[in-house]
């Protein structure tokens, strides 16, 4: 894990209130795996004080061939992300990373179902890229994507360019299916596209309510599911015990989202 002062390569609005930032940081890019995150210091002053966590959206190769850029996808929700949205290219940004444990990718995967809710799509792009490059037996890679409205449905083109099949649900019906992404999951699991078995894996990221639902549905099917959790963080190194989540590991113990996660097996979590 590194602390680096890196250059912002770009910082663009991709949809109202959603931004994508590219950062030149070979130290982090070269060792990061999908699902890991970075901690960004949003101000040189002491308000806001704490760093903000953002999952790595994409890990990019520079011209030379080795990984050197990371991208994050973020939504303005408060003062930290507001400040970030005003940062300019060539400016320095203070990063800590890569943090945590990313998705574990079983090279025997034949079917991968990615489930993303809103900004939860962020880690799934680099995940899709890695699955494609690492799973030689891959037959089907499908993304179920949900959002409140059409503006909250991000990166569809990028996924399609990778050959991922994308199905979309919006709560207001402004794009494709009107309803929740869990509807898409239920539909999928009932359809003939779905092939049960140990070579089918599910990966989900999104709001807690969605993850809880997805976990329940998946548990009934008995297939493996990795989910990416969010939690309020102070240190992100496992020192402060601020970010813990209740898990079944050894009965009922807290695990640290920052260090033991943010990716967990869905059946590990005790939902409140």
């Amino acid at each position: 894990m590194y602390q680096v002062l890196s250059k912002i390569l770009f910082n663009i609005e991709v949809s109202p209130t959603y931004y994508k930032m590219g950062i030149d940081c070979p130290e982090i890019a070269s060792i990061a795996v999908p699902g890991q995150f970075i901690m960004i210091r949003v101000s040189n002053q002491l308000d806001p004080l704490l760093r903000r966590p953002f999952v790595i959206h994409r890990i990019q190769r520079a011209n030379t061939g080795s990984y050197s850029q990371v991208e994050i996808l973020y939504k303005i929700v408060g003062k930290g992300t507001e400040i970030m949205s005003k940062m300019k290219e060539y400016n320095d940004i203070d990063l800590l990373g890569p943090v945590g444990n990313g998705y574990r990718i079983d090279s025997n995967i034949r079917t991968a179902v990615l489930v993303g809710g809103g900004i939860g799509v962020a880690p799934l792009l680099s995940l899709a890229e890695r699955i494609i490059s690492q799973c030689s037996r891959l037959k089907s890679l499908i993304l179920l994507l949900g959002g409140k409205g059409r503006d909250d449905v991000l990166c569809v083109e990028e996924f399609e360019r990778l050959g991922v099949e994308v199905r979309v649900a919006t709560e207001d019906g402004s794009l494709e299916h009107r309803g929740l992404v869990v509807d898409l999951l239920l539909d999928y699991l009932e359809s003939r596209d779905y092939s049960p078995g140990s070579s089918t894996h599910c990966f989900a990221c999104g709001p807690d309510t969605m993850l809880k639902e997805v976990s329940k549905i998946i548990a009934e099917k008995g297939i493996s599911c990795q989910i990416s959790l969010e939690s309020r963080m102070a240190c992100a190194v496992g020192a402060c015990l601020g970010c813990v989540v209740r898990t079944k590991a050894g009965g009922d113990v807290y695990k640290k989202v920052c260090k033991d996660g943010p990716v967990f097996d869905s059946n590990e979590i005790i939902w409140e």
Binding site: L46, L241, V244, K259
Partner: protein, 307 residues
């Protein structure tokens, strides 16, 4: 003079420190977590997360809220207990070459004594810091550290349970911090550290619920620095034992303020979260100040406030 060696060593009630920069309990884990950023043997001491006799699971979530220039935490003293600390965490710390101080607490006087006693003969521990900001479960939740008599009792009891140097960490949530300080000095403390967090609260106005599941939490960070500094000054004036300054120290200027106010050493807490190299940055900032001001020995700076 610019190149003559600087003497940064200080002695805190029998604990010899390389330099006055320590970590604050609960903000540096068991050292290991920050090893990628900080040479643990470079610091004055590592004060580990508060240890109780038995493991504790701590409070429900959320446990953390950011505030202006600070943060509230309600971790609730989650920890793995004395046994697992000794088995799983201590060996790494000893190997790292760090000077190790164990922060301990209990929910009754006896429990304080028990954990002190358990750590007494353990190799590698240079001293104990006792956190008296915990509710005394037996006395109906009243905090040991807010009543001079209770503070005396608990320190006196721990004093008899250990031969290790004893640092007593004070709670700032009191009317007269100097009075508490005198009590714990009388009870046999070798040093005093302050301040622990200040009780605070935050409310989510949409849900109308507290932002912390535990309702209130402890405020730390630069927001509290002026209060911490005032209390350190008040305590250092009236006690003979060394004082360790804690509270919102973000950089070497902050650290120097505490030393000038009378602190023989300082602890860095919340700053670690913002800048994982905060401790070593503070250390080199202090060295630079000493060079710039031709101070050869840090001890000559302690308590030099001119009023």
């Amino acid at each position: 003079m610019n190149h003559s060696p600087l003497d940064l060593s200080v002695n805190i009630g029998g604990i010899q420190l390389k330099n006055p920069v320590m970590t604050a309990s609960g903000t540096f884990g068991y050292g290991e977590e920050y090893a990628p950023y900080v040479g643990l043997d470079k610091l004055g001491a590592i004060v580990v997360k508060g240890i109780s006799l038995k493991p504790r699971t701590g409070n429900p979530l959320p446990r953390i809220v950011e505030t202006t220039g600070g943060m509230l935490n309600s971790i609730g003293l989650e920890n793995i207990g004395a046994d697992r600390f000794i088995e799983e965490k201590l060996p790494y710390l000893i190997d790292s070459g760090a000077t190790i101080i164990a922060n301990i607490f209990g929910s009754s006087i006896e429990e304080y004594g028990d954990v002190a006693n358990k750590l007494d003969d353990i190799h590698g521990i240079s001293g104990l810091e006792i956190n008296i900001s915990c509710p005394n479960v037996k006395e109906g939740g009243m905090i040991f550290g807010t009543d001079p008599h209770m503070a005396f009792e608990v320190v006196n009891f721990v004093r008899q349970s250990t031969k290790l140097p004893l640092i007593v960490k004070l709670s700032p949530n009191v009317t007269d911090i100097a009075e508490i300080a005198r009590s714990v000095q009388d009870a046999g403390a070798d040093a005093i550290s302050l301040i622990n967090t200040i009780r605070g609260m935050a409310i989510n106005i949409e849900t109308k619920t507290p932002k912390l599941a535990n309702i209130t939490g402890g405020l730390s960070g630069p927001a509290i620095k002026p209060i911490a500094l005032r209390m350190v000054w008040e305590v250092a004036r009236v006690t003979e034992i060394p004082v360790i300054g804690i509270g919102g120290i973000m950089n070497s200027d902050d650290a120097l303020e505490f030393i000038i106010a009378g602190a023989s050493a300082i602890q860095v807490g919340t700053a670690n979260f913002v800048n994982p190299k905060a401790t070593v940055d503070i250390l080199s900032g202090i060295e630079k100040y000493m060079r710039d001001h031709r101070i050869g020995d840090i001890k000559s700076l302690i308590g030099t406030l001119r009023i």
